[in-house]
Each structure stands twice: as structure tokens, then as C-alpha cells.
Symmetry: C2
Subunit: 363 residues, 2 copies
């Protein structure tokens, strides 16, 4: 907490309809995937979504250290060179922002108003976090392990470095990586250079960028982002439920060509290959994808993913006839979870995995 004027800013409102200046500024600042770029299994540099809470830190890789402190046998202070001597894995992982789809939840909570773009897939390379935790030696009474980034600012009146936490069981998974490379090259500054966490299967807030500190705690982490910001809530007074795994979702590459301003789509009649991606959280495979044409549902052809944490490709050939049509897609995962037809309510607009609706004009 702080006594700065930032502390006294009131709670954010909900609105219906037009977007505020603050929402527009966030939309200009944060960037998402152009949906047609989902055609690439791995999202090209500069097309992977970015949700950056504060400023992109300017980190000197030579001076950078990763400090492991708290309830450990041997506190560590690792250089980048030391980190890169540890055993490494590469995993293709689909990441999605917990706020993706917020613009579709009405009334709309004032935050980054994503429509569908906050998703991307990359090959992340780094050492499984457990190698570091095992070297430090986690104390017996450890409850949580906190991860703090170099990025600092205010949210909800609270000054803090961005941070998240995992339980020891979660953190010791062989899939949780401390990454120094993305798609085979060193992390770009905006993706967490020189090192970041990747927590596959979780919404993006867990994959802390610009990591500088790992704190092994004998009590729950009290960081603002974990305790307050990222919670599912019915209303503002609801203490809330934790946000963790990505919900099942699919998106369609809009067919045809767009109008510049409205992004309305014009499609030529005849056979049209509809295609897109589907994914779920916690390493759960996609069981099926369905496509609706004017609310008649058909099963799409589903391809196997590159890896259990990466999205699947799907395709469906539509015989397009002239006129106005509404296309939709819906995924179901192997747990039987399926996308709802309409957004489910959340006070902060988190976790909206409603079916993707794409109106088109066929000529």
C-alpha cells in the first residue's frame, strides 16, 4: 500500500456499449494475434499476444540474477550463464490471457477489452523449474512458491512487482519451465527477457515474465495479482475463486476478405475450407470441434496437436451459398467440457470461452 494519489482512485465501473479512453489506450498498447495468423502452428514473432501490466523492463543480462530465497536449505543467486548450464526442455505451448473475450461480457468490466486475439503458440525452451528448486532445497513446511518479475507499478491502488505463485506440487511438475528462449531465439524484451516462467495449461498470468525472484513461502503468497486481481467473481464483493487452467476454446480464421473498417467478411460462393484452432487447459486434449452454419451443427475434421499443451488444427468444407450466413465453432475436450453458446458471467470478464461467431456475406 502507498499514500500516493494513485491509491485513491475509485473502483472501476462496468459499461455497456462504447469503449472508454482507458480501454482504447490498453487496446493500443497490448497486442494480439491477427486471427488469420492462426494458420501457423507456431505463432510468428510479433504476432503472439502480449498483455503487459506495467512497462517493459530494460534488463542488463550481464547484471541480471535469479534469486531463490525464503524457506530453502541453500539460497541461490543464479546468473543467466549458470541458468543455461541446467538441463533444458523445449515445449510447444498455447498461452491465452485470462481476460481474452472480455469485450463480449456485458456489462463490461473496465480493463483490457480483448475480443478474441489474446492467444498464441510458441516453442518455449528452458530448464524445468524443479532443477532449481531441488538445488535450493525446499523446506518441509513450504505452502507456496512465489515468482516475482522486474516489472513494477500500481494496480487497484497497490504498488507492487508483478507476481504469481504455485503450490510445491504444481511448481515441481517437469512441464513448468524457466525459459530463456522462444521459437529457438533468446526471448524478445517484451516476452520476458532474459528469463520467464512458462506454466503450460494455465492462463497466461501464471507465466511470470522478467523473473528475478523466487520466494519459497511457509504461508500463502499475498501478492495483489494472485489474491485480488485474477479471481472469478459474481460481483465486486465476492471474495472470488482462483483462476488457473485455460478453459476449452476454439477460434475460426475468418474466411474470405474483409472490409477495412467494419471487418465484415465477403466470401465467394462454392466450397470454402473453414479452418481454425482449438485448445484446452491442464494438458487436456480436444475431443471434437463442431462448426455451425446458420445454427446447423456439423463435426469438423480434427488434427492431432503438436504436443499436449499446444492447440489443435481443425477444418471443415462448407458449400457456401449466396446471402448472409452466421458461422460458429465449438470445441469439446476429453473431460467433456464444451464451450457455452453465450458468455458466462464473470464480474471482471475473465474466462469467456463462448463459441466464436463469424457473420459472413457470400456472393
Amino acid at each position: 500500500m502507498t499514500d500516493s494519489p494513485f491509491f485513491s482512485r475509485g473502483p472501476r465501473r462496468h459499461v455497456d456499449g462504447d469503449f472508454s479512453a482507458e480501454e482504447l489506450t490498453l487496446a493500443n498498447r497490448n497486442s494480439g494475434i491477427a486471427l488469420e495468423m492462426m494458420r501457423h502452428d507456431l505463432t510468428p514473432a510479433g504476432m503472439h499476444y502480449l498483455l503487459i501490466h506495467f512497462d517493459i523492463p530494460d534488463i542488463d543480462a550481464e547484471a541480471w540474477r535469479l534469486n531463490v530465497t525464503g524457506n530453502v536449505t541453500s539460497p541461490l543467486s543464479l546468473s543467466l550463464a549458470e541458468l543455461q548450464t541446467l538441463p533444458s526442455r523445449t515445449l510447444p505451448v498455447t498461452l491465452e490471457c485470462a481476460g481474452n473475450g472480455r469485450a463480449g461480457v456485458t456489462p463490461r468490466y473496465q480493463s483490457m477489452p480483448w475480443r478474441h486475439e489474446a492467444v498464441g503458440t510458441a516453442e518455449w525452451s528452458g530448464t524445468p523449474l524443479r532443477h532449481i528448486l531441488e538445488r535450493a532445497g525446499i523446506g518441509e513446511r513450504t505452502v507456496e512458491i512465489a515468482f516475482l518479475g522486474a516489472d513494477r507499478g500500481f494496480a487497484g491502488g497497490v504498488e507492487h512487482n508483478f507476481g504469481w505463485s504455485l503450490t510445491p506440487d504444481e511448481a515441481l511438475s517437469d512441464d513448468v519451465l524457466l525459459c530463456t528462449a522462444m521459437n529457438g531465439t533468446p526471448l524478445l524484451p517484451q516476452h520476458g527477457f532474459p528469463a520467464r516462467l512458462i506454466v503450460p495449461g494455465w492462463y497466461g498470468m501464471a507465466s511470470v515474465k522478467w523473473l528475478t525472484d523466487i520466494q519459497v513461502l511457509d504461508q500463502p503468497f499475498d501478492g495483489y495479482q494472485k489474491t485480488t486481481a485474477y479471481k472469478f467473481r459474481r460481483d465486486k464483493d465476492d471474495p472470488g475463486q482462483p483462476i488457473d487452467f485455460i478453459r476449452v476454446k476454439s477460434l475460426m480464421i475468418p474466411p474470405g476478405m474483409p472490409d477495412w473498417f467494419t471487418r465484415a467478411r465477403l466470401v465467394e460462393h462454392g466450397p470454402v475450407e473453414l479452418t481454425g484452432r482449438a485448445w484446452s487447459g491442464a494438458g487436456t486434449a480436444i475431443a471434437k470441434v463442431e462448426v455451425a452454419v446458420d445454427d446447423n451443427w456439423f463435426e469438423a475434421l480434427l488434427e492431432p496437436p503438436q504436443d499436449r499443451f499446444a492447440w489443435s488444427n481443425w477444418r471443415f468444407t462448407w458449400q457456401a451459398t449466396p446471402g448472409e450466413h452466421v458461422l460458429k465453432c465449438r470445441a469439446t475436450d476429453e473431460n467433456g467440457d464444451t464451450q457455452p453458446l453465450a458468455p458466462r458471467w464473470d464480474n471482471s470478464g475473465y474466462g469467456n470461452n463462448a463459441v466464436h461467431v463469424v457473420p459472413v456475406t457470400v456472393r
Copy 2:
């Protein structure tokens, strides 16, 4: 023209205040630089601004050809391999979107509502266009040379491929490049792969991406973007003036740290190094940059640019005292052109080079 339903969409309105759903969708789709990333002389991959009118084309580099046709002695159809045998130059170039700053022009024309982010600097590599034009042999009565991209869609009811044109004198400059690389690597799909034009000193619309056709014309190019979209206009009935060179401009890296939602800035008292960039069009050097603290103006230290088409760095040490302050920066170029204190009017919000205003709280 076309008889599709897209043709009948009405003219776009002007609004004051909140942003429409269409503006928000464009802001989510197009991406700009995070201002703190202006600290890099060359904008890192994924941070250079992108204004993409239609969809990002999916181009097979093996099948791609650059066709040079029209009023020429020898029509050409060049493969990428042939293009890459031609003499090559590398130029650092600052590009800016003509619509940058549109969100600050009131009432606001409905289009991409950039605040300040539509700028970036890269090293562009390719062959001077004149090598290709000389090989094709430009006919004597040539009036304009048109450049068409593979990107196709609707704007203002008109179906077209994005295109621009230059006069022969403009096109034969040794600085106009047909580029296949950006910052030393092949163009990313979203930056025009496999080849694009770079027209240094001009607003970005001239640097046609995904180039497929060069048409040598004995009459002015009639493409929608050149004749209609990119024009300075007093009102919608004004036939308009052409948009060409970038206007003198400067931006400041906002000091201190931000509030996530409002992006308000908190700065610690004491000496604060303010820094930013300044640039102008047509290869005109920056003569001076001034910084205002609460409307008292001081001259900043100006560093020479990397090259005549690249932005200059500037810096100024401010002794920050607790309280609320308003910082501004203003550049003047060697032609004596200087940034206005308030946005000048344009019907479509083009060319807004008003001084950058950064309010901060000092503690």
C-alpha cells in the same frame, strides 16, 4: 466497384468522446510500439507498428513473382531468387502511419484510433527500385508508377488490392528500396513477406507490403488508397491534398512507473532523465528538441541520428519536485517546421504532429 452489400455502407461519422466497437476492433488488430521501447535505436521484432488494411496474405515464396508491366520496354516477372541477385542496400528508416495521433483530433474520424504508437525504426535491406525499373525500361510518357500488394479487400465500398504510386523521379531515387529483409532477417509475414517497398521519409502508406505488381502508367494511378483514402481534407466534400512526407514529430518515453488501468505515471523526486525520439520526413534533419515542464520550455540534448531517415535520440535532466506536473516535448526540423501545441484539423485525422503531453505525479 462492386454490387456486393459492402458497397452500400454509409459514410463514416465523426464522434467526440467514447470509442466505437469498430474502433476498438481496429485497435486490437493493429499494433504499435510500447513507448518505452523507443529506448532501442532499432525497434525489436514485434514492437514495430503495424497497420494492416485487409488480411495478412499467405504467400508461397517459391511461387511468388514480382511482375513489372505497362509502359515498359521489357515486361518482367522476377522470382525472389532473381530479386536477391540485384545490388542491395541497407537503410535504417523510421516509419510512421499517417493516421498516428488520430485519437487526439476532435471530433474524431472513425478509423484506426492511434494515440502515439504508430511509429518504429528498422534496418531495411533490399535493392534500390531503380535497378528493376532500369531493367524494365520506363517509357517516355510515363506519368506514375503504381505498386500493388497481394492484400485485397474493401474500403469505402471499393474492392481493391492495396496500392500506392510514385512519380518516376520519386521512384528512381536510390533510397527507395524493394526490401526482402528487416533487421537482418527475412521479412515477417505481417511486415510484407516476401518483398515490400520502403519509401524513406514518407508516411507508411507508400511502403506497400506484399508487393506483387509494378505498373508503369502513362496516366495517374486511379487506386482508391491514393486517390481517395489518404488525403488531407478540411471536410468530407473537400477533394483533398495528397499525403506524402512525414511531418516533424517527437515523443517522450513516459518516466517513472504506470498505473495498470489509467496508465497514469508516478515519478520519484530528484533528477529524472527524460528521453525520447524525434524525426521528420523527406530526409530532413532535426534541428532542436525542447522539453516543457509545466509550460516552461528548455532545450534538450539532441544526438545525431544513425542515418538521415532514422529518428534522433534526445535527453533532458529534470529536477523533479513533488506534486502534479505536465511534461511536453517539441521538435523543430532544419526546414524550420515545428510541432504545433494543439492538433491541427484534418477531416480524417491524418498528420497529427501536435506536441506529446505527459502528465506525471512526483512523490
